[in-house]
């Protein structure tokens, strides 16, 4: 049964709804962190501005603007940064995550947009920032002809963006290299629009259903109220859908948990919830989950989207045919 499910067709739409609390976050510097936010708001996943595939190992695509720097008409500053970036990848990986956050603002050419609230550091190699800068310079010197004008250039590109010192000073006339500018852009962007990070992924996250077994034949769906609250749907509606889809019946127990007749695994409930969300929660026009279900005129249910304002009718939940299971004698009595 459960093996068949993996091939079930509706799995195709799986991507759009996820049941995870853990989020893999790819930082701009390529370090991958896993955040566990049990009850956090729906979607703050990777804030990397590059389109996902988040490879789990840090060696994989580093989300930095190196290609962009490549493409930019090569001023000598650009050439320098390019060489610098290539060398840097290795180092940045082991860079302490906090230091990386600092560097984002610093002129080192990183565009760290660190919105991560908590981080699990992969490797802790504590490094002083200036030590890092020193090493960078050393690398630059090795960097061949491109790095010729480097040292003083690199040194020149210093200053605190927030305080407006160094190159960021108001009356400064020196040209600023591409990478510091880029890092400044992203830092500002993230600062001014904190919710931008959330729009990166389209997935909608709800807490995974908790399934317990009661006795041998009943399943307890423990966190239904929580899930309903997150989806902004009436518990009765979700319950009715679950029962209709699973072809069973059940009840709600004293602590508002749902007791379903029959054995169900968490995965199976998840699947049904997923279809529920697709059918009754997400807006078909803009795919936003921010919708309301209301009973419109003449007994029809309507979904109104709060983000795009569209309105559509949804089918009422129908149980359909259900075969008689169990002993006939019991049914008669």
């Amino acid at each position: 049964m459960s093996s068949d499910e993996s091939t079930l067709q509706r799995r195709a739409s799986r991507k759009s709804v996820q049941f995870t609390d853990e989020k893999i976050v790819v930082d701009a510097d390529g370090s991958v962190t896993t955040i566990t936010t049990p009850d956090d708001d729906t979607k703050e996943t990777a804030m990397s501005h590059t389109p996902p595939p988040a490879d789990a190992d840090g060696a994989a695509p580093v989300a930095d603007p190196a290609p962009a720097a490549d493409a930019a008409p090569a001023a000598d500053a650009d050439g320098l940064d390019l060489s610098l970036l290539k060398k840097k990848k290795k180092k940045v990986k082991k860079e302490d995550a906090d230091a990386a956050g600092d560097e984002g603002a610093a002129p080192a050419g990183e565009e760290g947009i660190d919105l991560t609230m908590k981080k699990k550091k992969k490797k802790k190699v504590p490094k002083e920032e200036d030590e890092f800068a020193k090493k960078l310079e050393a690398l630059n010197l090795e960097g061949g002809e491109a790095a010729e004008g480097a040292p003083e250039d690199e040194a020149a590109q210093e200053g605190d963006m927030d305080k407006g010192t160094g190159i960021w000073a108001h009356d400064e006339t020196r040209t600023i290299a591409y990478n510091p500018l880029l890092s400044r852009f992203f830092a500002l962007l993230a600062q001014k629009n904190p919710d931008h990070a959330s729009t990166g992924t389209r997935s909608y996250k709800i807490p995974p259903p908790q399934c317990l077994r009661e006795g041998n034949k009943k399943t307890i769906f423990a966190n239904l109220p929580e899930i309903c609250k997150r989806m902004k749907r009436a518990e009765e509606h979700v319950t009715a859908y679950l029962f209709a889809e699973l072809g069973t019946s059940g009840s709600v127990d004293g602590s508002r948990r749902l007791v379903i007749k029959g054995r169900f695994q968490q995965k199976q409930i998840e699947n049904v919830l997923r279809t529920y969300i697709i059918e009754y929660v997400t807006c078909k026009t803009c795919r936003s989950p921010n919708t309301e279900l209301s009973k419109g005129e003449n007994r029809l249910y309507f979904i109104t989207c709060n983000s795009c304002g569209s309105r559509r009718s949804v089918q009422a939940i129908k149980t359909g045919f259900s075969a008689q299971v169990g002993k006939r004698r019991k049914m008669k009595a």
Binding site: D4, T7, E245, G247, V272, F321, A323
Partner: protein, 121 residues
């Protein structure tokens, strides 16, 4: 105009007639075929298929299916299923296979995939 050619528009057609009779063209798009699963005791399950158009012979379908899926099954008629038409009921979980069968043009019914809904987990 000779007698042989007929003007299509003037053909009177009863819009309220049962759609299933002729080509199934007029079937409303909402007429889904529902494939459901039900748990029995233990690991046993039942698969029910509801809403196969009346133009097909359910008995023959069942016969083919039983052979192909190696399972037993039965047709539950109107009186038992309370107005849901004839329902094919099979023993075991055959949701995917039955869907493939319904969609298949050569060895199946050649129905539109969009009209089929699979329920259950």
């Amino acid at each position: 105009m000779s007698g042989e050619t007929e003007i299509q528009n003037l053909k009177s057609r009863d819009p309220f007639a049962e759609a299933d009779e002729d080509s199934g063209q007029t079937t409303q798009t909402q007429e889904y075929i529902h494939i459901r699963i039900q748990q029995r005791n233990g690991r046993k399950t039942l698969t029910t298929v509801q809403g196969i158009p009346a133009k097909f012979d359910h008995k023959k379908i069942l016969k083919v299916i039983k052979k192909e899926f190696a399972c037993n099954g039965t047709i539950i008629s109107d009186t038992e299923s309370k107005g849901m038409g004839e329902v094919i009921q099979l023993q075991g979980d055959h949701r995917l296979k039955i869907k493939e069968f319904l969609v298949d043009d050569e060895n199946g019914l050649g129905l539109d995939e969009k009209t089929i809904k699979i329920h259950g987990f």
